[in-house]
Symmetry: C2
């Protein structure tokens, strides 16, 4: 089977690029002396997970209990569910833990810690939890300076549960620009969890795991003293947002959507394809960057970008290819039935629109394998 024979639209994964991306981060973290706990929310695929984890048992990070369940079935035994826990989800967590999975939850309030401790006491087995630290104000977490809150959560947890450590995510790094700013994000991320760990340990509480993670900071940190593990997800595929932040080049992007030309509006300079926002997602992450890539960058079937050609607009099942406004690009001569590949703004959101990866090698159109991927909760 080749890319010419697949039903379109569909998702294509360049395994050479993926392997290169994984090796690059692994090499970096080895130099920094810290382990990788990859975030499997980007791939949502057992086959992809096996290529990013240290071993088939993990460690790894997930964003939903559905992911935890699917990866547990495939043999992963060491997981952090890195979204604040809702108490109603604790029976599901306990069920997975009883199957031999060391599934760790995340929280940032005393209420959650009390719920975890109570559920642990009732089940007769301690549920381990990490305290989420807010390193840059972008989402959840306790401020690393809020010693009273940190200690109160830790103490509440220890009434039957288990304080496993502290965790943060430098989501703010996605909008940082330039090496200096990114290195500063990485250092703030590191310092926030190390400070929080120091506070907890100073109060006589355990804090074995000190976990940080985001792809931009993982690729820019210069010192990870005190950190025990790095979580990162999108590094495995990369995408146009990461290229815009300067973390990768366009030709590192391993994911693309294969599409077929279905029409033209010649006087408008439009080529229509059968990949709209349903196939690309509606992630417009590059629209706030220096170069907006519309709904994606248009490549030929081998994955080589056409100069300044983007998916300028999209409806549910229609994509409109245009030359980037203000550029010197010219519209290529693509006929009805010709095929293109579109590089995504955000690998996590584009991937989520599909149920399988069609795996190729760089510049080849031979499909080596179809790897299933899943979604949902």
């Amino acid at each position: 089977m080749t890319l010419d024979e697949l039903d379109t639209p569909c998702l294509v994964l360049d395994a050479d690029r993926m392997e290169r991306n994984v090796a690059r981060l692994r090499g970096r973290l080895a130099d920094l002396g810290v382990g990788l706990r990859p975030h499997l929310k980007t791939g949502k695929s057992v086959e992809v997970a096996r290529r990013v984890m240290d071993s088939p048992q993990g460690p790894a990070t997930v964003s939903t209990l559905k992911e935890a369940e699917r990866f547990a079935v495939s043999g992963v035994r060491d997981l952090i569910y890195a979204v604040g826990i809702a108490p109603a989800k604790l029976p599901h967590v306990l069920a997975l833990r009883s199957q031999g999975v060391d599934l760790v939850v995340l929280l940032d309030t005393v209420e959650q810690a009390e719920a975890v401790a109570a559920a642990s006491r009732e089940a007769g087995t301690a549920i381990p939890a990490m305290i989420e630290i807010d390193c840059d104000g972008h989402r959840a977490g306790v401020l690393p300076t809020d010693a009273a809150q940190l200690v109160a959560i830790g103490q509440a947890l220890q009434q039957g549960g288990e304080l496993r450590g502290v965790l943060t995510h430098a989501g703010g790094s996605y909008t940082a620009r330039g090496t200096e700013a990114l290195q500063q994000c990485a250092e703030e991320e590191r310092r926030s969890v190390v400070d929080a760990a120091t506070i907890l340990r100073g109060a006589g509480l355990p804090c074995p795991v000190v976990s940080i993670g985001s792809t931009p900071t993982a690729h820019n940190a210069t010192d990870l003293t005190g950190v025990t593990e790095v979580r990162a997800g999108v590094f495995v595929f990369f995408d146009l947002v990461m290229a815009g932040v300067g973390i990768c080049q366009i030709d590192d992007i391993a994911l693309s959507v294969l599409a077929t030309v279905i029409g033209h509006q010649h006087e408008k300079g439009w080529i229509l394809i059968d990949a709209g926002w349903m196939a690309m997602s509606q992630d417009r992450g590059t629209s706030k960057q220096a170069v907006s890539q519309g709904y994606g960058v248009v490549c030929d079937i081998h994955g080589t970008p056409y100069p300044d050609l983007i998916l300028g607009d999209a409806n549910q099942e229609h994509g409109i290819i245009t030359v980037r406004p203000g550029s010197n690009g010219t519209l290529p001569d693509l006929a009805i039935g010709d095929r293109v590949r579109i590089l995504p703004n955000h690998a996590c959101s584009t991937g989520a629109q599909h149920s399988a990866y069609h795996v190729v090698r760089s510049l080849s159109t031979e499909v080596e394998a179809a790897w299933p991927r899943f979604g949902g909760w």
Copy 2:
């Protein structure tokens, strides 16, 4: 089972609102003397389809061959695939037609018409096709004034295929404001296909079907002379974009995402929930309207909106509830574990993130049924 017991996030469908929405459009079209060919891309569910179609056999419209296949299996026999046909998809179309489904394709070029005619001759059975008309410049289609192109396509089709008629979609109506502007969109939509049909018939070509369709124009047309059918999709559920255009009220919206509170950032006025953009989609369709609804409007578990409370921001699995900027709303007192329902910007995109509808009646939390929905191509 009640909404308090479901795993979150998940999709909730208010069947009372859906039935009211369907009855409203049916009543309108009956008054206008024209049939409804509902677009099943919004629901992507056999159960929903059965509640919007005239009969279990159809007629209906689809946006992918996957939809055609799934609805064919459930007994639908009269379908238009309303996205320009790629020649490589014709064997799939023929396979569905050989199962007794009158599946009609769409095209707007002589190349596509020649491909349909050739595939028809080769298969020994005529594939019917509609010519897409461009009524407002927003996407695909032949201009209704381009008589030469219309006749050339029709003649090419008749060399073995079958010219079934003309079809247009007033996508531009989504950005129209006010009854007068919407009525004008509806009239331009009507006139474009009626004019095209007149040209084709004048050239001695058949044109039995004259098909228009968009929810805003379907709800604003005052005269549909010459039109044989109306296609519309989002009318079944409605959404915040349609409310912003003025086609429905907020309390007509039948679809919502059930979510659980997982944290607070009190000093910022944030309530965090476990529904992020993966559950809501990244459709920000109201951001260009008079009132931006963020990622959705926040309701209590019974579906009643909190005043000026929106999902202000979203990460993959985190949603951030905030008071609408500039409003007098106040943050409700929601504790960890409390549940809310979020009304979506766009029913088609939010629905696509989920694999089932949890069906309730208005103001009730009792789940009557779980209806599967599908995605993909």
